[in-house]
Symmetry: C2
Subunit: 211 residues, 2 copies
DNA sequence: CGTCTAATTGAAGCTGATCAACGGCAGTGG
DNA sequence: CCACTGCCGTTGATCAGCTTCAATTAGACG
């Protein structure tokens, strides 16, 4: 729980008692756009995708949350509704803290708001970068970029995509067909190899980087 | 100064004494990507554009700051470098507060960090929405959306674009040529009228909204 | 008044979306 | 254990929206 990492064990235990736990199966919706947003959601285990739906029905993947990630902070201060959807991608444990209780925590432990500010900052920086990439570069280079970043996360040149290609497409602002084609093209050029389904082997990282 | 709005007058006066003032002319660079980020920047008067440059040289406009807006918060906690550029679009007054002094302020007046959190939240929500729009809808509908929002800000159906079309293009993730064409098309359809340069008259707001 | 940048307009080309059909894999139920 | 049924992913063909390049005009500012 990075949010509470600076607290002592007994303090963290107090938080345990405040938290409400929920379990979701793969495919289940955790919240939908329009739902009142009155709690902070922390992913205890599993994987959650957070996305928006455009008026034309197209999906945009915003965040992929895994253990320790959280969401729903935006309106922990002012009342508001969700503007995105959250869906479990696998069996997932969620902890929730209500707004009033979270506000009390923040007052008691100011370090929490600092952690929050840091997390917000990271997210902003990340989104700014993604916005720029999506608007100014080709699908090919966005995909290349994603592969490099993902390899860095896994600390391995051989990894399994943590996402369905369908979702990866909406993350990169494109379609599954295009992803499929571009990956095939990269493989043909010898830059990557697709072993199993979703399993990717990077052969020439520098080539990827200069796309 | 929305950041300090909850403080008393004398407290705000104290802040006055901490602040470093700078003046920039139209076109001047306030900071560039790679510069060390060690101060919070507040726009006292004027207009500032914050943008990123992609590897291919293309520009992406992220924020347009006017009086009272601020930037540079992302690294008020951890040392880091700017990843964007800021440029004055007209004669502009800037107030700066160094990291250590700002941190002291935050400790003394916790309301400031709440204000910061709120502002971060707004920015995140806004960016998420923009990312979705850019990735999932046509230039036409993004432009229509922008016109509606801008009219709402000015509280008038007849307003002057606060931006050069060139910059508007990078804001909407397209090119000046396309903006020009789309505006001409909207005018031909009778939905808007372009009176002076940059002066826009909305004739049929509902038509814009359903694009 | 002259210069420089912004904006417009035209023509051409390309990237990527869309539509449709097929193959494959996984989970389900008999 | 096998067959059935969806969904995911792939591949092909077509098409449109937008970018790009180039040339011209308009506008801003000293």
């Amino acid at each position: 729980m990075p949010l509470f990492s600076q607290l002592t064990e007994s303090e963290q235990a107090t938080i345990e008692s405040i938290v409400h736990r929920h379990h979701y199966q793969a495919g289940e919706t955790i919240f939908a756009a329009g739902d009142p947003m009155d709690a902070l959601m922390i992913v205890a285990s599993g994987q959650v995708k957070v996305f928006q739906l455009a008026a034309n029905g197209k999906e945009q993947l915003l965040y992929l949350l895994t253990t320790g990630d959280f969401d729903g902070e935006t309106a922990l201060f002012s009342q508001a509704n969700h503007n995105s959807f959250a869906q479990a991608l696998m069996p997932t444990q969620i902890c929730q803290i209500n707004r009033p209780e979270f506000q009390r925590l923040m007052q008691k432990y100011p370090t929490i708001s600092l952690n929050l500010l840091n997390e917000f900052g990271k997210r902003l920086t990340d989104l700014e970068k993604r916005t720029t990439k999506t608007a100014t570069t080709s699908v090919e280079s966005r995909l290349a970029d994603y592969l490099v970043e993902t390899a860095a996360q896994f600390e391995s040149q051989n990894f399994k995509l943590p996402l369905k290609k369908k979702d990866l497409a909406t993350y990169l602002g494109t379609t599954p067909e295009t992803i499929s084609r571009k990956l095939a093209e990269l493989e043909q050029r010898g830059i990557i190899t697709q072993t199993g389904s979703k399993q990717i082997q990077i052969n020439d990282e520098s080539a990827l980087e200069l796309l």
